[in-house]
């Protein structure tokens, strides 16, 4: 049921530090559950990694709530933001995948899933899914592909992308190490699978140090033509 929420009035006022009387708390349809997601595309592989911490405010709800969801043998999606919307969104995507399989007798390609997700998200333009999505997978030619989204469906194909609470910390590091940005006279070596996995582990270890919402464990989904393989690495639990 679409929740009807009262319009909030008077934003931007400084919080008052003395008790003035009864305080009204309005219902917010969203919550922020934290978590970071990362995806990297290589020549013939793709990686989707996420931490497994689920938090709200100052509490941790769960240390084992991964944010990567396997969609097909060649596509994995990472969703961070509001966990309720992540669950509903992945349920809807899985249902639509089945519908497509039944009417077209083939599995959806990662590009098609990305285009479909864009329209699903935009269908809620006026009451968005509070989810930052990143899809990682293999395209029809077997090359790695990463698609990153904003909450209302704008998307682009990328080589690498970080999303979620620690995205602003991770993205510049990826720009430098994978995109070779802001460096001069460097040899641009294509990324191998082993190097990419090691880089992702290092990058999440750094994120867990500095972002309170990221930590506990790291789950990496490695997508190659053999299928999807998972690796779990422990992170800081504090």
């Amino acid at each position: 049921m679409m929740m009807s929420a009262q319009a909030y009035g008077d934003k931007g006022k400084m919080k008052e530090y003395h008790y003035t009387g009864p305080v009204e708390h309005k219902f917010s349809p969203y919550a922020f559950n934290g978590g970071t997601v990362l995806a990297v595309a290589g020549e013939d592989f793709a990686l989707v990694a996420s931490d497994t911490r689920l938090s709200e405010g100052y509490s941790i709800h769960s240390r084992d709530s991964p944010k990567c969801y396997k969609l097909t043998d060649t596509t994995v999606i990472g969703c961070s933001g509001f966990h309720g919307d992540c669950l509903t969104l992945t349920k809807i995507i899985e249902a639509r995948l089945k519908m497509y399989k039944h009417s077209n007798n083939k599995n959806m390609t990662s590009g098609a899933i990305a285009a479909m997700l864009s329209t699903i998200l935009y269908g809620r333009r006026f009451f968005p899914y509070y989810v930052y999505n990143i899809i990682g997978g293999l395209d029809e030619e077997g090359r790695g592909a990463v698609y990153s989204f904003d909450p209302v469906g704008s998307y682009q194909r990328d080589t690498y992308k970080a999303g979620g609470s620690a995205s602003a910390m991770l993205q510049p590091l990826l720009d430098n190490q994978i995109g070779f940005k802001n460096m001069e006279n460097v040899e641009q070596v294509p990324l191998s699978l082993e190097k990419a996995v090691q880089l992702v582990k290092d990058v999440f270890i750094s994120a867990a140090e500095r972002d309170v919402y990221t930590g506990d464990a790291l789950k990496i989904c490695i997508i190659t033509k053999e299928g999807v393989r998972e690796e779990i690495v422990p992170l800081r639990k504090d």
């Binding site: 917010s28 249902a95 006026f126 904003d150």
Partner: protein
């Protein structure tokens, strides 16, 4: 199915697959919502623009929830004797975070139609993709390409239905049809203007300054490329929300060609060297 759609047969034949129930207040169809027809969901009982404001506009949002949507840009297009020049930057920002420096802000609707994007990225991508679908259906039904005037009118009418609900879209539809080169500006209020020169986005005033000082109808092709590139470059230099690379397209009688994609950092050094 797409073929049924084009023939218009669904008016007579009862849909038996995914029977689209009308969206009702009591029963929301999550799974096949918008699967067949494009549909948009609206929260009940609230003004959609006001409802989202606390989450998108305020710094801290509501209890830590900030929904930052991708925004900001500079785009320009002008007509000259050899067709239409289109130039855009490629930065997409979400709040104060630069989400990407390589965003494609020109949509290639068909080989004779281009659409630019400024404002909210999702709005532009969605509505221009819908426009591409309508143009294709027009071509299949009428066996000839849609005119630029009709295409821009379709887009303007589509978004006019959502006027006041918080869409943010400023786009230029450029093409070449039977009447020659065409350039229209369409925005989220349903405004549609035909003209010779437009620039949209947060950096448009900087681009206008440079374009106006160098524009003549009888520019040669290399001069027009240079003018368009400089205008976007100067806008990215001064506008915080524009940057990345300058993407240029040239709309000719035989269709559009992609002229170049250059990083503004390199352009800066090139222009600085020229000054000496």
């Amino acid at each position: 199915m797409a073929l049924l759609d084009v023939c218009g047969i669904s008016d007579w034949v009862k849909e038996d697959t995914f029977s689209s129930q009308k969206a009702s207040v009591d029963r929301v169809n999550h799974f096949n919502f918008a699967a067949l027809e494009p549909e948009l969901a609206v929260p009940i009982g609230v003004d959609p623009a006001e409802f989202l404001k606390p989450f998108t506009d305020c710094e801290d949002g509501v209890e830590g929830v900030t929904i930052k949507l991708k925004h900001g840009t500079t785009t320009l297009a002008f007509k000259f004797q050899h067709g239409v020049m289109v130039a855009v930057d490629s930065r997409a920002s979400a709040g104060s975070y630069v989400d990407t420096q390589l965003f494609k802000k020109v949509i290639e609707i068909n080989p004779y139609l281009l659409g630019t994007m400024s404002g909210s990225a999702a709005d532009c991508v969605y509505w221009e993709r819908l426009l591409a679908k309508e143009c294709r259906i027009y071509k299949l039904r009428n066996k000839e390409r849609i005119s630029v005037s009709a295409a821009s009118k379709l887009l303007a009418n589509m978004v006019a239905n959502y006027r006041g609900m918080g869409l943010s879209m400023g786009t230029m539809i450029c093409g070449w049809d039977k009447k020659g080169p065409g350039l229209y500006y369409v925005d989220d209020n349903g405004l549609r203007l035909s003209g010779n020169m437009f620039s949209t986005g947060s950096g448009n005033s900087y681009a206008y300054g440079v374009m106006d000082s160098g524009y003549r109808y009888d520019l040669t092709v290399p001069e027009a490329y240079d003018l368009a590139q400089r205008a976007i470059f100067h806008a990215t230099h001064r506008d915080a929300y524009s940057g990345g690379t300058v993407n240029m397209y040239h709309m000719q009688e035989t269709g559009w060609i992609k002229v170049s994609q250059e990083d503004v950092g390199e352009l800066y050094h090139r222009f600085a060297a020229e000054k000496k």
